[in-house]
Amino acid sequence: MANYGYGGGYSTTSYGAQGGAEGGGFMGGSQQGSQDSPGGSRTYGKDTLRPVTIKQIIDAVQPHPDSDFKIDGSEVTQVTFVGQINSISSQTTNTTYKVDDGTGLIEVKQWIDSDADATTAKPQPKEGEYLRVFGRLKAFNNKRHVAAHVIRPIADYNEVNYHLLEATAVHLYFTQGPPEGVANGVKQEGGMFVDAGVGNGVAAKGGKLPPKITGVGRKVYELLQSEPQNNEGLHVNMIAQKLGVPSNEVFKAGDVLLGEGLIYTTVDDETWAVLEY
């Protein structure tokens, strides 16, 4: 796909050249994003803009040099975060900020655009100010930094709290699956008071699962509750087939549910029923 070729070329340019391109402004990144997104399949998840804490950047794993960084098991290229400026060092080609958001410290480099009109230049951020940074995660000489596309000062402190909550929500999305739907939430409330209708009861019990039960785990549990069955419960293969999920995924989910004491094994290790009391 032509789009993909462009994206690939962009991300493999040499360090210096790419830095220059970023110095030109946000256009490069945004253009690439808009071209890639309709393509979908191959570049899916590649050009994302993820809200993170600085600790997540420090903890991000790079499976091998030059590969993309991974946070919570998913690839990240562009990130956004907030932080307070610890120190500023201006060089001829770039300005390096040490930024601290209370979770860690990271260097942010902003390349200086020599073509920029000095009269329209924005005032330089000062030490102690909170910043919002949009940029790309880089490793250079084993040292991590963020090459910034855009840096802007934060005028309203509430944005700091907003960002940290958003980063938490996205972290939970990747580690524990999507949140329960709104409709489900309403049903849960109904189910809290009366343990009546089947639909109500199922939703309520699904909602009572501990937060560490992931998406597949919830589906398995809900199926075990709603599926008509005899007292032997359901076999793993049957669950996998009904949910359209690979059986190893079902096994993994089942292990967690078993560990939590939410389900139990019946005739053999691979046949499960809901533990109700």
């Binding site: 993170v52 804490t53 600790k55 601290d100 209370g102 410290l105 102690g128 940290l164």
Partner: protein, 107 residues
């Protein structure tokens, strides 16, 4: 590695769990007397200010400081946040910080 660099966000009730650690706290200035300030952060906190601190009674402030033995704070950095701070959001962040500490700080 990142440990000494992280300053966990907390409110007054958490102070006792972080003895002699450097922490971050948002509170409203209720009293200012010399270089000692009293902050309201879900409970009263005594803050021993440094020379660079410029606090205003009634304003919100974010301080980075070390927790003393008597649960007062020795302020290292303070930043005036004005009056328009949603403290419910501050509390939500503190809650998330300790509930999902893997992305906020290490022990």
């Amino acid at each position: 590695m990142a440990d000494p660099l992280s300053t966990p966000r907390l409110t007054s009730p958490h102070l006792e769990h972080f003895p002699s650690r450097t922490i971050r706290l948002v509170g409203r200035v209720t009293l200012l007397r010399g270089d000692v300030a009293t902050l309201d952060s879900d409970g009263a906190v005594t803050a021993h200010l440094n020379r660079d601190s410029h606090l205003t009674v009634g304003n919100w402030v974010e301080v980075v400081g070390k927790v003393n033995g008597d649960l007062s704070l020795r302020v290292l950095v303070s930043r005036d946040l004005g009056r328009d701070v949603d403290f419910e959001a501050v509390k939500a962040v503190v809650d998330a910080t300790h509930r999902y500490k893997e992305i906020f700080y290490s022990e």
